[in-house]
């Protein structure tokens, strides 16, 4: 039955989706910044900086929204994740801090670009990988197992290391990185102001699409053994998978034929479908296979207030976001 807890879980899904599409792409931008090559290297970097700078903070806030709504609505699950995934989450935070600092230093600090460029690049790689790893370890049921070990006081390795170092979570981490790089390259083809730059990022989009394919295949194969629920869910939900595949093919074909705007929409759809494929596959669990949305939910009064707050917030937020994107991403290509 769909009630308030499920609705709020849905909102978290939407916010996570928004973060993947915006903040995720910003991480991808960091990857391409490091991999900038050829005669247009500096111009590639400038384009990346210009297209990220005005919006990265707003994009980043999606993650804060996810965390805050999550701990308000599902405190028991938040508590478990904070305990079991302490190490990868802390490492992810370091990545986030490094990246934010690099942004600040590049824009306002004294000149020391190259060193901070490295920090930026490292952060842009490890943060998505760890985000994916965290998701992978939740999906595989390893977190639930480790949470049991906390109760029966298992060894340090069993509780705090094992859940996120298995092959499946790592594969999901790689997949997240590939997806974000792919998203960023696709967005940048639209943001680029001249044909040469567009071509540069078109090639990068196609290349990272191949990486996405490899990682996704690896994750799916591993899912059969390591994450039974996801395997049943994703493979069972043929419709979603077919739609994901269709979006992927559309994105690649559109990039190939230089229909960049179409490619951007298709790539965003592809990432969203993968995310929702995962969320629906583990429904009704927050932490499969033990903690359901209902079990983890906060008291009804909190959920009701939260829902009111979220609705009110959305009324202010969505027009503001639209305004910002209209100002900065109206997309003009000068030939």
């Amino acid at each position: 039955m769909i009630g308030l807890p499920e609705l709020i879980a849905g909102v978290i899904g939407v916010a996570l989706n928004a973060y993947a599409l915006t903040g995720g792409a910003d991480f991808g931008g960091g990857v391409w910044d490091r991999l900038a090559t050829g005669v247009r290297r500096e111009r590639q970097r400038e384009l990346i900086a210009e297209s990220i700078a005005p919006i990265w903070e707003a994009n980043h806030v999606w993650l804060i929204v996810v965390v805050v709504v999550f701990f308000t609505a599902f405190p028991a699950a938040f508590s478990t994740l904070g305990t079991v995934l302490h190490i990868p989450l802390t490492l992810m935070l370091i990545g986030i801090v490094l990246r934010g600092s690099a942004f600040v230093f590049r824009s306002y600090g004294p000149h020391g670009r190259s060193r901070w460029g490295l920090a930026f690049a490292v952060a842009s790689v490890i943060t998505p990988v760890l985000l994916g790893t965290v998701i992978g370890s939740i999906a595989s049921g390893a977190v639930a197992t480790a949470a049991e070990h906390v109760r029966i006081s298992g060894s340090f390795g069993e509780v705090f290391i094992k859940p996120w170092t298995a092959p499946f979570p790592v594969a999901v981490g790689a997949l997240a990185l590939a997806l974000f790089a792919f998203l960023a390259a696709t967005y940048l083809t639209v943001d680029a102001r001249d044909k040469d730059l567009q071509e540069d990022f078109r090639v990068r989009a196609l290349g990272s699409a191949a990486a996405v394919f490899v990682c996704a295949a690896a994750a799916l194969v591993l899912a059969r053994s390591a994450a039974p629920r996801v395997a049943i869910g994703v493979v069972g939900a043929l419709l979603i998978q077919a739609a994901t595949a269709a979006a992927a093919v559309t994105a690649i074909a559109a990039s190939w034929r230089r229909r960049y705007r179409v490619a951007r929409i298709a790539a965003a759809a592809q990432v969203s479908l993968i995310l929702w494929g995962w969320l629906l596959a583990q429904y009704p669990y927050v932490i499969p296979p033990s903690l359901t949305i209902r079990d983890a939910a906060a008291p009804a009064v909190t959920l009701r207030l939260l829902a009111v707050g979220l609705a009110g917030g959305a009324v202010i937020l969505l027009p503001s976001l639209g305004y910002m994107l209209r100002i900065f991403k109206s997309g003009k290509v000068e030939k």
Binding site: P54, I64, V104, P299, L305, I327
Partner: protein, 422 residues
């Protein structure tokens, strides 16, 4: 965690007050057409951007840290304090969006829209502070919950937000942000004006005047807010008041102790100057009122005495100093004189540059350490809230390093920003 918050509070203060300065400058520019104001607005906008970026990052760290370090606290309190945190999230989001518009939209939106964007940044910054301080106020004086067997049996998050500390703490924090930042900015420019006689005087003069415009009203109101806060503490958190004042015995007509070091064994504060009946008068508006002493409470509920007492003295002293200097500056303004021509006032301001931030940190110690051993006043002990993960000093060190790093970055960036103008 305390360390993270200790850093974050400074980032946040500047993040709240800097946008106000930047909008003030822009408004003056649009009214007068004086290009110096535009220069100032842009400069302060950069400062805001640095602080916001770092504040955003350190805020993210904090929201994760809640779960990473205090999982049990969050499991218990999440449903209660999540609501203000969620509202804070939205305020922060709004701030992020409009700061982006402000910083990168100088020639993309109309002048009016641009100023309004700046105003929204300033207001949503203040709103964020409101919601976060509400959470802290609730931890001090929890309401809206009924406890049964270590769990909350019934909760009412709205009643929790209206707990008895909320109003005083929010006002005190917001004023603190405007005073601290205003004094710091005024101090930096005053220092330049004192030392250098010629270069770019007008720029620093304008900056000084704007900063004082923000700092003076806030600094003069702050002692009043401090007084009402102390009275609220006296009523709702008597043990904290006793620790602040090193009041060991319960007595009528309790003295106000200035300075001194609390001595737990001798049950007295050494070297303190006592003003007879002062505490009873200030806290209860009655020179003969009874003040509960520490000995009225079990020893295991005492907060660490020395840090709380000393921090409180530091906060009050610096707050008073800032209020006095601001009153002096105000009298110069009222007489129609130029503040930049008063070398002694300038020197005093320059001396007080870090005073607001030090006072803020001291105030933070007062409210947080003063609440120990509780994480939620009278309901949950801090020791019971901490994560079961072994080797806790490792993440503690990691987070400490993160914050030292962030602070260094802010310092270097701001320094290079200040150097550009001098």
């Amino acid at each position: 965690m305390a360390l993270s918050l200790g850093f974050h509070i400074i980032f946040a203060e500047i993040g709240i007050a800097m946008p106000l300065l930047m909008v003030l400058a822009e408004w003056r520019w649009r009214r007068t057409g004086d290009a110096i104001y535009l220069q100032l607005a842009r400069r302060w906008a950069k400062g805001t951007a640095i602080l916001f970026a770092v504040g955003a990052v350190s805020g993210t760290v904090l929201s994760f840290e809640l779960g990473l370090l205090w999982p049990s606290f969050m499991e218990l309190a999440g449903p209660v304090i999540g609501i203000p945190f969620a509202l804070e999230g939205f305020a922060f989001f709004t701030e992020a969006i409009f700061l982006g518009v402000y910083l990168y939209g100088w020639d993309r939106v109309s002048p009016r829209a641009h100023t309004v964007a700046g105003l929204i940044v300033a207001m949503s910054g203040a709103a964020s502070a409101l919601f976060v301080v509400i959470v802290n106020a609730w931890m001090n004086t929890p309401t809206g919950v009924t406890v049964e067997g270590g769990r909350f049996a019934a909760i009412d998050p709205l009643a929790a937000m209206r707990n008895p500390s909320t109003f005083q703490q929010v006002v005190h924090m917001l004023l603190a942000a405007y005073v601290s930042t205003g004094i710091a900015v005024a101090g930096i420019h005053a220092a330049v004006l004192v030392r250098r006689r010629r270069s770019n005087r007008l720029f620093h003069h304008h900056a000084l005047v704007l900063a004082l415009t923000m700092a003076i009203p806030a600094a003069l109101l702050q002692p009043i807010s401090g007084d009402t806060s102390a009275r609220a503490v006296a009523r709702w958190q008597p043990i904290k008041l006793a620790a602040l004042e090193s009041q060991f015995a319960t007595e009528r007509g309790a003295p106000l102790r200035l300075g001194g070091i609390p001595d737990e064994d001798a049950r007295t504060a050494r070297y303190a100057v006592e003003i007879p009946r002062g505490l009873s008068l200030l806290a209860f508006r009655d020179p003969d009122a009874e003040v509960k002493g520490l000995t009225a409470f079990p020893h295991d509920q005492w907060p660490p005495l020395a840090p709380v007492h000393i921090a409180f003295q530091v906060m009050v002293m610096l707050g008073t100093a800032m209020a006095l200097v601001c009153a002096w500056a105000a009298s110069v303004f009222v007489r129609g004189r130029d503040v930049a021509q008063h070398p002694r006032l300038l020197a005093a301001l320059a001396l007080l540059t870090p005073a607001g931030f030090i006072a803020t940190e001291a105030g933070w110690v007062v409210t947080e350490v003063g609440r120990q051993p509780w994480i939620i006043g009278g309901i949950m002990r801090t020791a019971d809230a901490v994560t079961p993960m072994p080797g806790l000093f490792v993440p503690m060190m990691v987070f400490a390093l993160i914050y030292v790093g962030l602070a260094t970055i802010v310092a270097i960036s701001i320094a290079s920003l200040v150097r550009e103008t001098t």
